[in-house]
Structures are given as structure tokens and as C-alpha cells.
Subunit: 423 residues, 2 copies
């Protein structure tokens, strides 16, 4: 166990709670959607805390926020650690925010110790992880990793018709003095702490989850087209009722796809009806599908069946299924996982390997540098809900494990990624 | 056939088209919802046309608009004729507006003839017939007929949280000089022209529909309550997914209720999802049901099955079914129907008896005075759609039949309703 604390647990908790005031909902949750006024306010607060500790803020074309602690070799690829500050519309205090604040706390505590790290340490808050305002999510980390083009990202629009490009320009205009880094740069290693968003750590009474990888995910947008008509006059057999077709499709999907095996996760989370009036037969339904599974072959087969079932149950309406996200499952860097497990052992926190059921920005960083994640439990496994909760002790434990791994990497004379390549 | 025209068909058509400019949609339809700025603008135009012909405008606590042509006996119960000026969000140029403009044209033409009628003639535009902004519809005529209390009407809210009371006060504030009549007054007889909103007249090549009555209608609001959760982590078997429950309910309802017999009309037209985010299991679905049938016993039995099917298919979610409208089918006044049929015969317009599949304000007037309706065809039976269309000749024919019946009642020495009671 470390002889002296690696972080200031009280400060971390207080800052996390202070951050949760921005976008706070009456039911105790957080509504701080990507590129919103709330996220701009959160940036101001986080930048302020970074400046207090001598960290230098910057951004990039994708609206990611960076806070840099300068190392001895400014030219060496930096260590990157963080998560995201945006939330679901009825989200909680911890999803994303805990990871950014733990990364900031680990870095600030290290800076306060006075030793200059061998290379830059950069705390990051990725743009639009959630994808609730602008779909699909993880825009910032995907752009950083070179997987999605900024031109394509900028044209996505929210429900009010505002584009990502407009919202991004507005964010940047709110911080006119913030330096812009080029989009995507060489990184030595990436670390991310997150609440589990599932019940496994709590059930196993483990404080630290050493994340082995992330289950695969596919998302789709489906448009069902029928024909409008008067609810009181158009004969039932002459209708092309888009909502009736949707109900058949959704029932078939939930029955077949939802019961493939105990590991499948199938969700229709968003839906819109046109014209959405009580006495008009609906002409168009647009809905989202979120599909996840740890086994890529199961995921691919389910994706094929989704398209087939939509086609089978739509008539007399027509249907168009558009894939949005196709992210296969991945495995995190084994040596980073071992460093996390070792830190948990030394600090005497009960730990276990765990597969991430939810997607995270680390999925995209893993394609450009060695990456890993630390999970902490959340009450009842509940996340994306306003009563989402993590115990202060668990937040502190996770941040302390993160801080230990960070120190081992920060003061190593050889770059971590370089060692990987050398081995 | 009348020796000289009873109406000015060109003026009627031009005014109907001018009215359609208010709230015009790019696709050629009309979006002029109840108590909106569009409806206020429509009032201004219609009031102006009434004033030009010597009609006196007034309103009441329910936001109904009246235009009165004074008769010889101001104390005698007036003849009332009209329809509504509000539309569906993607409605057409004729639903409601054709009835108000035909009533205005018949009254203005009569006034121009110079003979003063025996009793007042009042053109009316009822408040919120459609029910698309504030549910349920027909608020103005129900309040007028004493069937619904203004206090209950005023608390209904639109999707933006604006109450009927607030919107009504805003409407009245826009017309500070308009006199207020007391809500609900004795009426001698009520006449309403409307497009059929169905395909029967067109298919039978009839210009005039003598409406025998209105099919019965029930509406419900259904709330399905589940539990929110993370789409990527919450196990399928532990979910209480409100959208999955809704899909099962809607499929069962469309299958069973939608196939009771060829006369049934079953529609789920409006639906909202909470929190409506792609990666959150939906916690709550609220949807509307619109059910219609000419036979009250079939309607009642279907209503019972709707509640039962919701209960059967909701678990593990809970469900609450709230009846909103329960309007049995009704028959219009036989003597007024004969006057309409006779006018059509004399003017040599092909006519037929027809049951109204859609609901109309006349349903509520029929409870307080002898009432009847004149239908005209609409292309392909399409209504509540932006391409809704009625031929100029058919609009003119309907208005001319309406004008002839109006003249027979307006100059009769004995009140029409009085005769009914006397017989």
C-alpha cells in the first residue's frame, strides 16, 4: 500500500459534486448535453481548476478539452487520461464526470508533489461521448483517432436543427483565448476511469474493475414510411399506418433479437412520430436501435436479422435501415491492465477483471495507442438515470489506482508505447 | 332550381383560398392550430369580412367566434351555422374552414338581398375542434352545449406546457373591443357544412351528402410505466422496457381491435417516449387511442377490450388507461335532413344520405337544438393531410344548399325548434 495518499480524496469528491451542480435536474441528476451552455460552464470550472495547479488548457477542431502538465521532454508523446463531461438528458453525476475529475485529481496531485514528469501529462474531456443530443456519440475521440472526418461530424444536427458545426463554433467562440492543438497527436498511453454502469462489481463486492475490453456495439436508424390519413374515416384495410408497422417490427425485434442469449443487449431508445396527432394515421416513424454483444460473430448475425425483420414486418409500409455505429468488441492493453491490477493489489482494493458492457472513448484511443480502463462500482448498476450513484470511497479508490499507474508511466525513462513496440 | 344564385361562388372560393394563406405549409397544406397566432390572424380576416356585410362580431368564454346578422325579433332564439377555423398540424385548406366560409357566404348573400330575417342569423367558428394542440378536441362546442366545464377545459396543456386558459386569455387580449356573449344560449337550429373526409361521395359521384348522423367515438390516453436503464449494461431479462411493452400492446390492439369488422376505425396517432435517448431503456410511453364505430354496442365492447389488452401485454411494466372522449353515435334532425335533401333536389345536385365517420361540433349542438350537416366530396377521401382538396364546384354546391335551407328557416314566422316541440 502507498505510504502516503496519491490523491486528495476530499477535494476530488467536492469538485465532482460542484461539477454536478452544472446542469443539475430537480430529481438529483444531471442534464449537461454535448456542446450545450451547461458543458461550456463545466469547461470554465474545469479549466479554472487546471489553471490553479499550473496546467495549460487547449482545445482542438473536434471540441475536445485538454489540460496539460508540462513534462521534461516536451517533444515526447504525452500520457493522456480522462473521459467526458457531457451527460444524457436525464443522466447522473458520475458517468463521464468521475473519469475527468479523477484524471484531473491524479495529475494535480502529481504536480503538487513537485517532481516534473518525464513527458507531458494531458487530462482530456472528449466531445459528445453520449450521443444523446447529436447522434452517434464519441465524436471527439473518433475524430481524434482519425476514424471519423470532421466534415461529416459537423453536419449532424440535434432535434432543434442545430448542427455540430454551429455548436462547436459557439463553444470555441466562448473561449476565444484557448489555444487550438492540431486534431490527433501521438500519445504514449491512454487511461480512463469510469463507473461500471452495470451491477457486477457491486454484486462481487469488488472496488476496482480491471477492464479487459469493451463489448461490440452496432446502432441503426430505421425509418418506416406509410401514408397519413383521417383516423375516423380511412378504412382500416386501406391504411398504411407507420405506427402499426413499427409496433409489429419492434415486437418482432424484441422477441427474436432480445432473446438471442443472456449477453445480448437490444434497445429501441428513441422514436419520433409524424405528424403525431391523436386523430391522424401516422405517416412516418423514425427510431433508433442500440445492439451490443461481447462476441463479434453474434453481433454481426444479429445485425443481419435486424434488417431482415424490419423488411418482413413493415408492409404495407416501406422501411429503410441505416447502420450508424459498427464498433466490434476490443481488448485493452495487457500490460496496462496488469499495472492497474498491481496498483489495486498494492493499495489493497479488491479487484476483478471485467468486460465493459457500455461503450467508452477508450475504444477509439485503443486503436492509436496502448489504452486501458479502471471501473468503479455504481449503486444497483444504475446509470443513464438521475439517481446514478457511486460511493465516495469507491471514487477515491479508483482515482488512487489511476494515480499510481499514472506515476509509474509518468516517471519512466522509456516511453510506454515505445516499450510495447520494442518488445 | 333557384332562379338566381343564392351565393357568390367566386367570392366564397377566393375567401377560402385567402384564409388558407394563414398558416400555409410549404407542401400546400395548413397548420393553424387552436388559439395559435394563425387562428388569431384568421379571426381578424373573418371578422373583417363579416363587418363589411354588416355582421356584428362577438366571442364567449370558450373562445368561440360569432358573427351576427340582426333579425327582426332580436329576442327570438337565433339560427346558428358554421364550423371551425383550427386545423391539424399538417392539415388541409378545407377541413373546418370550408364550413365557416360557406356559412359566412350564405349569411352575407342573404344580407345583401336586403330582406331582414325573422330572427338573428349567427355564423360561428368553434374553438379547438381538432384537438391536436389541446386534447381532446371540440372544446368550444362542448362548452357551448354545457357538456364540459370551462374550468376543466382551461387546465389542459399543449406540448409546450401552455394551458388552454393562458391561450384563451391571449386570444381575447388580441381582440380587446370584441363583446363577450354569455356561454351557451338558446338556438333555434344549427347547420354545418363540412368536407366528407372519406371516399364515399366521390365514389358514388354525389355532390351533396345529407348526413344522417355521426359514428360513435372513444378516445383514451394510455401511460406505460417501466424503468430507465443503460442500453449497454442492463440485462435484457432485468429490464422493464416501456417501449417494448408499448410495442406488444400496440401490436395486439391493431390485430384484435383493428379487425373487429370493416366499420371499425382504430388509430394510435400520438406517442411520446421518455427519456427518448438512443442508449437509454425507455421508462415511460404515453400514447393516444382513437376508436370509432357507427354501432354503440360494438364501440363499448371494443373499449372494454382495449383496457384488457393493455393490461395483458404491459407486464413487467405497469399501464394506466384513461378514457378522454366517450361520444356515442347520434342521428341528426330528420326534418332538417329533409330540408337539405329537398334543396339539393331543387338545385339538381346529386345527393345521398351518408353517415359521418368523423366527429364534428354538430354532434354537441345536436344535444341542445335541432341540428344537421351537409357534406361535400373531397378528393380521394383524403383529409387531415396537406393535399386535402375539394373542387370549387362542390364547395359552391354545398354552400348553395346550405343557403337555401338557411333562407327557409330565416324567414319562417314560426321558430324551427318551436315547431318541433309543437308537433
Amino acid at each position: 500500500m502507498a505510504t502516503q495518499p496519491l490523491i486528495n480524496a476530499g477535494r476530488l469528491w467536492n469538485r465532482l459534486m460542484a461539477l454536478a451542480e452544472i446542469g443539475a435536474t430537480p430529481a438529483g441528476g444531471v442534464n449537461r448535453q454535448a456542446l450545450s451552455d451547461g458543458e461550456i460552464a463545466a469547461w470554465r470550472r474545469v479549466i479554472g481548476w487546471g489553471l490553479d495547479a499550473g496546467l495549460t488548457p487547449s482545445t482542438d477542431a473536434a471540441g475536445n478539452l485538454f489540460l496539460t502538465l508540462a513534462g521534461r521532454d516536451r517533444a515526447a508523446p504525452p500520457l493522456l487520461l480522462g473521459s467526458h463531461l457531457d451527460s444524457q438528458p436525464t443522466g447522473g453525476k458520475f458517468d463521464g464526470a468521475a473519469g475527468v475529475m479523477a484524471a484531473l485529481e491524479a495529475t494535480v496531485s502529481l504536480a503538487e508533489q513537485g517532481d516534473r514528469p518525464a513527458r507531458d501529462l494531458i487530462v482530456v474531456a472528449w466531445m459528445n461521448e453520449e450521443g444523446s443530443r447529436f447522434a452517434p456519440g464519441m465524436m471527439g475521440s473518433e475524430a481524434f483517432a482519425g476514424e471519423r472526418d470532421m466534415a461529416a461530424i459537423r453536419v449532424a444536427r440535434d432535434a432543434d436543427g442545430i448542427s455540430v458545426g454551429e455548436a462547436l463554433d459557439r463553444l470555441h467562440a466562448a473561449f476565444p483565448d484557448l489555444p487550438h492543438r492540431s486534431l490527433g497527436f501521438a500519445v504514449d498511453a491512454y487511461l480512463e476511469l469510469h463507473i461500471e454502469q452495470g451491477p457486477l462489481l457491486e454484486a462481487a463486492v469488488r472496488t476496482i474493475g480491471v477492464v479487459t475490453g469493451i463489448q461490440g456495439k452496432k446502432t441503426f436508424q430505421v425509418v418506416v414510411e406509410g401514408a397519413e390519413g383521417h383516423a375516423g374515416t380511412l378504412a382500416q384495410q386501406e391504411r398504411r399506418d407507420a405506427l402499426a408497422a413499427f409496433a409489429r417490427i419492434a415486437t418482432a425485434l424484441h422477441e427474436e433479437i432480445g432473446s438471442i442469449d443472456p449477453d445480448i443487449k437490444f434497445t429501441i431508445g428513441r422514436l419520433s412520430v409524424q405528424p403525431n396527432a391523436p386523430s391522424v394515421v401516422p405517416s412516418r416513424i423514425i427510431f433508433s436501435i442500440d445492439l451490443r454483444h461481447p462476441d463479434n460473430s453474434v453481433l454481426d448475425a444479429a445485425g443481419v436479422r435486424i434488417t431482415a425483420l424490419c423488411g418482413e414486418h413493415a408492409p404495407p409500409c416501406s422501411v429503410a435501415v441505416t447502420p450508424l455505429v459498427d464498433a466490434p468488441s476490443n481488448a485493452f492493453d495487457p500490460r496496462l491492465r496488469e499495472l492497474i491490477a498491481q496498483a489495486a493489489r498494492e493499495q489493497e482494493f479488491p479487484a476483478t477483471d471485467i468486460l465493459s458492457a457500455a461503450g467508452h472513448d477508450a475504444r477509439h484511443l485503443a486503436k492509436v495507442c496502448p489504452s486501458a480502463m479502471v471501473f468503479i462500482p455504481c449503486r444497483d448498476g444504475a446509470s443513464h438515470v438521475e439517481h446514478e450513484w457511486a460511493e465516495p470511497d469507491h471514487v477515491a479508490a479508483g482515482a488512487s489506482v489511476l494515480a499510481q499507474v499514472l506515476r509509474e508511466l509518468a516517471f519512466a525513462l522509456t516511453p510506454f508505447a515505445g516499450k510495447t513496440r520494442g518488445n
